[in-house]
Symmetry: C2
């Protein structure tokens, strides 16, 4: 006869992964490279993983990423995994590149960690990388799942990461550098009316470079889509600087 | 006792896919979008697949693509699969995008065909798309494997393809359109010295658009990297046109 007590006993012994409603694809994952800007420097969001089945934090940081479910597409997987690990949701994510080196997860340290969370830690995993540039002040980080912590790290200070995540970060950074020439990228990170010094900081942060102030201003003012407002900063201690606005429609016309 | 006769009997009954030296990953494939130019129009390389286990040709064309081996990376897989199906080798392939809709291979016609060539036709397949723009006169097509034929089809005449291959083609085409603004793409398809009419044809083919001749010339001549040669065409029936060359170093300076 049907006995609910027996069923609950069975569930207790099922592998934790099998308790979700979704089957996991063992061969495909997503990784998210989320860039933030602290008004001075470009930062990237990393997670600290739980070490094994303990509460201890693994000393190697990683990008937020995990295997996809069989019943979701790649974009959905990226949104879900990012949210599960860091709490960030409704982020505009763009697919950057797919990484498929046969040995990308086979380093001993990574394998040790994978054995603590995966049903098939040895299965080859191809990962699809996504990226976004966000205003980090607008989002709270609430890490969960195997992420013990989620932290913003300056791009120039990023240490050796797990798997091939340094390579993935480099690729996303290059993607961003190319994009800044094509799209009004990152302007949502500036106030509506901004100074050329603020704009220069943003470009320098994304391009990980420094520019001569005069050259930068000359080049920027040659474009038509950075529009002077005939207004100056107010309430600043230093000499107030002129304010500008970005004209999206003029940009797209070009 | 060891009996070699028994072993050979076993091998006879092994599934054909298992007889290669390489294990196949059931979840990841590559697809190649190879563009050619016939001096007038942009074309794309498609294959005609064998229908089932027969010599009959399936009525639905597809991009050349197949599952990856477990021991090769994605770039290697794209080169191998393209070569196996069409005979093209040493092509400069660039990764464009990865497609992972859970239902991308589940249409009945595609499933029927997959059942004739795959060990696990129902397994979900994520595909990594690669693209290239080649001078098709320089390459011979020698289709093999499950490709009964390889054919150049004008992009504007491409019919309904198998799987999500129309979507993949569109993405590769967009990639090409973006790239033509950033890189001296396709100039290797023109003679070293070319006329502005030839250049316009190339742009029109890639951008699948037509331009006003005067506007096109004015815009092109405003750039510094299309350099006039003070030479004219020779031996042509019509009024000889001025010749130009492309200056790569000037392009990269900009």
């Amino acid at each position: 006869m049907f006995n609910i007590m027996n069923i609950s006993k069975v569930i207790i012994f099922v592998h934790p992964l099998a308790m979700t409603d979704h089957a996991v694809n063992p061969n495909v994952s997503v990784d998210c490279v989320i860039f933030g800007f602290n008004n001075q420097e470009l930062e990237v969001l990393l997670i600290e993983r739980s070490a094994g089945n303990t509460e201890k934090v693994d000393e190697i940081k990683a990008l937020p990423g995990n295997l996809i479910y069989e019943d979701e597409n790649l974009d959905e997987a990226a949104q879900r995994v990012l949210c599960e690990l860091t709490g960030l949701s409704n982020i505009y994510l763009e697919q950057v590149y797919t990484f498929g080196d046969p040995n990308r997860i086979s380093k001993k340290h990574d394998q040790d960690w994978l054995r603590s969370i995966r049903a098939h830690p040895e299965a080859r995993v191809i990962t699809v990388a996504y990226t976004s540039l966000i205003n980090k002040q607008r989002f709270n980080l609430t890490p969960s799942s195997f992420a013990r912590n989620a932290v913003w790290v300056k791009v120039k200070d990023v240490p050796q990461l797990g798997f091939d995540h340094n390579e993935i970060l480099d690729k996303a950074l290059n993607y961003l550098k190319h994009k800044i020439y094509l799209e009004p990228l990152g302007y949502e990170l500036l106030p509506d009316r901004f100074t050329l010094a603020q704009l220069q900081k943003l470009y320098e942060a994304i391009l990980v470079d420094t520019f001569d102030k005069r050259n930068f201003r000359r080049k920027i003012l040659r474009t038509s889509f950075i529009v002077p407002l005939n207004e100056k900063q107010k309430g600043v201690a230093h000499k107030p600087a002129s304010l500008y606005r970005f004209d999206k429609s003029l940009f797209h016309q070009i």
